[in-house]
Symmetry: C2
Subunit: 426 residues, 2 copies
């Protein structure tokens, strides 16, 4: 077996054999297949595709490149959620303790933000004392104590994916559905969850800009999950506008706690409950209803236990940015659009996100939203409040919000709200 | 400008701009664009193509990565030939002195063999004392003295091509017509010839296996030559069976000298004369006819001067391999096929070629051909004589000749010879 014959096969639109896939992933992990060979193969896969059998085998080979976790000793069934990433997407924070309160264990290995989309670990790290890095034993203990754990993935999980992801990032080969799907699913399957709900985001603030691409990605990932024995379903949800009323780290924690307290923005509550129902159903857990668990304080109770078990103080005051600036409505009318990408880039530029993996983030930075699409606004009323510790960034953030479609106000006669949940794939 | 945006543009089927092409070639030569980025771009080019404007600019950028030679101080017009490579293709050897004898100067920068196709420099190095490496001044002196020079290209000529060619070799991106065409033409244009005749080989022993691909490559290269002010024409010629009666190094020199002495195999003579006429016409030289120059000894005279000027002894005995083995006809009938690829691989395995760039070649190794397609043969009569210094290689060479279509003998009722010259592109 050699790299050139595998590259040529995919280049010439052949179906890769199991042996070719197993060999190329293993040899790449070991360094026998060079980066320049893997990037040529990744481009051939991006342009010529892979079928579900090939993607399944590819995913499986990446899982076998590292360790696989096992939660079979837990007394509860496990269920997890993965979002493909969006702006203001804090859903994991209220969702994990909510599902735990309803009777399924949630073992979530999560990531950090890169670019304009936020990262769950960055958000939680704004809670004083909270630690993302846990040993396997600590993770199991948090899961037993709180029913849910959100922590960083160890280095041993799918190392082939880690290496390939970094390569794709610099070679223009990120946007390949077979590679996106296998990257996500290799980590989630190796994580050892029994059930999985995918939140595939669609729209300007998401990775997938149109519904057809998102549907293909969702179908591929659901197929991969089922092939690996993980009960998997996907919701396709709108990411044309930010979720909720905040995009940032501490700002989103605050909003998540509001949801756990039975309040919070309607869209965040709607999506949290919908995903919780899917996670419970996929894990075969019936009994407590998520709406009840939000109302009766049991979800909040699991949140407090989860945060405390990872060193965080659930009662501590959250960081606040040193400077604020308000952006007002330039005209009166109906706010017909508030673009997720523009808000995401603004939050990122204010310091909520990072440009490179090793950059720090500002806990207090971000964007607060005072009006959502469909709202009637009056010229001069506050639309957004920008937060940052570094006020020299305001202009750069405002530039993103000055893009043609960032904020649109019209007479609103023909305004139709986009439904939050666009499709379901199972 | 950055590598990812250039890769993405070609990946998404956009036309690359002049600025993108200039930047990426320059940055790759300097090492700012990494190998894994260039290989992803090469795969995108292979699968999505480039138009003639893009290929012209790409070629020009590769030329500008190094030095460009200049023969304008010569009293004669210059004309060169390039073959895309075949089996038994010794045509350059008699052709260069023949064209010189007819009044055009031939400044040929040539290469070594790799794989089953032979290299002109390897062949000439079987002449005792002959040197391939010349300084620019020495090259000019040989050209003035003998009218023709065949030597190795210096490192300064199109260094971007050298780096890219080595990368393509290990990343499955060799077979891209835009990259093949620009690789060949960047070197030939930088070499500074005024006219160029391309011999694009078609068939099993060639790089291009079918006429349509060869025509596309020929049209692309002729277009590139014209754009760069080099009067360029291409002949498409058959490489389904070896040229002449020998494939090897010293074996092919011997056959070339026979042609220069007015004899030699009919196909070698036909192609040599056809290419000589094209080279002279492209350079605007009229007067002496190539057939006359072969008959009257003037071509041979230029050969002797050219070899001697590069340290070779034109009267020295050529090396002979230590061992021979004869392959006989397995049946009586008409030899309907003698496959160029099979013969090329056999010669290569006997020691005439190299597997890696740094390997040495055997001067005496190769295959002598006793019957060509169309000949009537009798079971048991000699078909081929295999030559090598390392007789343990005979079996491995015979294996190549035992392939199903390597040697075919039939009743021959429906045998039709393939014409040597298949097409002309100008």
């Amino acid at each position: 077996m050699d790299a050139i014959s595998v590259i040529r096969a995919k280049r010439d639109r052949a179906e890769l054999t199991d042996a070719q896939i197993d060999w190329v992933i293993d040899a790449y992990t070991r360094g026998e297949v060079a980066d320049e060979q893997m990037s040529a193969l990744a481009m051939a896969i991006l342009l010529n595709g892979m079928n579900l059998r090939e993607i399944s085998r590819w995913t499986d080979a990446m899982i076998r490149s590292g360790v696989r976790m096992d939660f079979s000793s837990l007394p509860l069934p496990t269920s997890d959620k993965h979002s493909t990433g969006g702006v203001g997407d804090k859903i994991t924070l209220p969702l994990a303790p909510l599902v735990a309160a309803c009777g399924a264990a949630v073992p979530q290995l999560s990531g950090r933000g890169l670019g304009h989309t936020g990262g769950t670990l960055d958000k939680l790290e704004s809670i004083p004392g909270w630690r993302a890095l846990l040993s396997n034993d600590e993770m199991m203990q948090v899961l037993r104590d709180a029913g849910a754990v959100i922590c960083a993935a160890g280095d041993g999980l799918a190392p082939a994916d880690k290496k390939l992801y970094a390569l794709r990032d610099v070679t223009g080969t990120v946007e390949a559905i077979p590679l996106i799907a296998s990257s996500i699913m290799s980590k989630k399957i190796a994580e050892g969850t029994g059930a999985l709900v995918l939140d595939v985001k669609v729209g300007s603030g998401a990775f997938m800009k149109n519904l057809a691409d998102a549907q293909e990605l969702a179908r591929t990932m659901v197929g991969l999950g089922k092939n690996a024995g993980v009960n998997t379903v996907a919701l396709l949800t709108d990411m044309g506008t930010p979720l909720g009323l905040t995009a940032g780290n501490a700002l989103e924690v605050r909003e998540s706690v509001e949801v756990l307290a039975g309040g919070g923005p309607a869209d965040v509550v709607e999506l949290t409950i919908a995903l919780a129902r899917e996670m419970l159903a996929a894990a075969g857990v019936t009994g407590k209803d998520p709406e009840t668990a939000l109302r009766d304080g049991s979800a909040m109770d699991h949140w407090r236990r989860m945060i405390a078990a990872q060193g965080g103080d659930p009662d501590a005051a959250l960081p606040v940015a040193r400077e604020q600036q308000v952006l007002t409505a330039p005209a009166s009318g109906v706010l017909t659009g508030l673009d997720a990408y523009a808000v995401g880039v603004a939050a990122w530029r204010l310091g909520a996100g990072r440009a490179r993996k090793e950059d720090p983030v500002q806990a207090g930075a971000g964007v607060e939203i005072h009006a959502k699409p469909g709202a009637h606004v009056t010229a001069g009323q506050p639309l957004l409040t920008l937060h940052t510790d570094t006020p020299e960034r305001f202009d750069y953030a405002l530039e993103a919000l000055a893009a043609p479609d960032a904020i649109t106000i019209a007479d609103g006669a023909d305004f139709k709200p986009t439904p939050l949940i666009l499709d379901r794939v199972s």
